[in-house]
Symmetry: none
DNA sequence: CGGATGCATGACAGTTCTGTGACAAAGACC
DNA sequence: GGTCTTTGTCACAGAACTGTCATGCATCCG
């Protein structure tokens, strides 16, 4: 944050830290630019009216080398200033006094936009030893051979495989696989049993899908 | 632009066209969403108070499938609304009345920031074993011989071929091939059946377009 | 050691899923 | 106007799947 007014700087810093951000503050553009070069921040907040290098120049200077999102926070609400700041390279412009919640929401929106393509896509394949689960393809391969599972079995297996190494309770499984909020937990047992018939070499002594007595089931990593 | 007030819609459209933008306007979220799916715009402007699907829902719906920048233009200046809209996925929020110059500057800032248009350019030909699908040419070749498909069959095949190896649910197919958001899933079955008559050597035991019971259909890679 | 609890499994009846043939409406073409 | 295609809806039959239950074994606890 580059802001020359001590009180505002302190207030904003505290407010943002409250929202979970880590803030580094500077009172002048020179100081701020240096800081950003030394240790780049994820977002830069900048006031327009600064002693020395002013906000507009500061933004241009930032933009020369850096793609960091820049948010202007200014007391001036003149359209001309807003346009100038945006043209200089700012990503957003807020007029003081700013509502912390709004600032925070706008920062999140910017981060969303700036971040490299979201890593939300689940991997194509979950491998557990010689068992390969492909959620998107709707396939399960055991030692390279494709298995025929029913929908329930498949979803159950996906859920367990996705959390390999963790115990999942019958309740959790009912919720995630069946989307039941209540229901008979025996139901899970039955389907685990059916699944074992297909994925275990020896269903009597399960290796891949084990019971954790009193807690639930898990697939060892 | 999605805006239900005729006068505002017209005024904004003219103002933006003056700035050099090409504008497509819709009066309802339904209409706008459909338009965006048909022919994606570079930026979406949306009002919050809309008849039917409201602005928030509309943003969420857009975000489900699309990474397009979304700007909210609303008469409501309540922080709560602003935060909600941004959380829903909007990139910016302007309070009416908006200064055209500011809007224009903010749109440019967003375009600058927007990810380069996804590489959706599809290859000329999708090859799946001895089946070749040419989406652009509108042809399908089976062992070099051209098949005669109806339009629906062709689009269905393209959709499945494009996602070869992935299961597509009947719902997904209805949405992508028929652009239905609801509808009878049996319809998909029937057309899959008809398509099989043409692309399978032995329609009784499908090899190229297989059923994944409980999940949908897919073409194996 | 007896009782209680947790778990596995086989049987079964009801439900759901899928492929298909028939058919009418809508559209394309001449 | 007439003909041929294409589409969407429906009904039906067989196959596959699901949830429930009863039974029996294993494990835990006092």
């Amino acid at each position: 944050m580059i802001e020359d007014d001590d009180r505002i700087r302190l207030a904003l810093t505290l407010a943002l830290e409250d929202e979970g951000y880590t803030v580094r503050a500077a009172a002048t553009a020179e100081e701020g630019l240096l800081g950003q070069r030394r240790e780049p921040a994820d977002i830069v907040l900048v006031d327009l009216m600064l002693p020395g290098i002013d906000g507009f120049q500061c933004i241009r200077e930032l933009r020369r080398t850096d793609d960091v999102p820049v948010v202007v926070i200014s007391a001036r609400d003149d359209t001309h200033d807003i346009v100038a700041a945006l043209e200089a390279g700012a990503d957003d412009y807020l007029v003081k006094p700013v509502a912390t919640k709004e600032l925070s929401a706008r920062l999140r929106a910017l981060q969303r936009r700036a971040r490299p393509p979201a890593q939300t896509a689940q991997p194509d394949e979950l491998a557990l030893g010689d068992l390969a689960v492909r959620p998107l393809a709707g396939e399960v391969l055991l030692r390279g051979e494709q298995l025929t599972l029913t929908r329930t079995e498949f979803r159950l297996l996906c859920e367990l495989a996705e959390h390999a190494g963790q115990v999942l309770s019958r309740q959790q499984l009912l919720q995630r696989v069946w989307e039941y909020d209540f229901g008979d937990e025996r139901l899970v047992d039955v389907h685990v049993g059916r699944l074992r018939q297909k994925i275990e070499d020896n269903p009597g002594t399960p290796q891949r899908l084990v019971t954790v007595r009193g807690l639930g089931y898990k697939m060892p990593r």
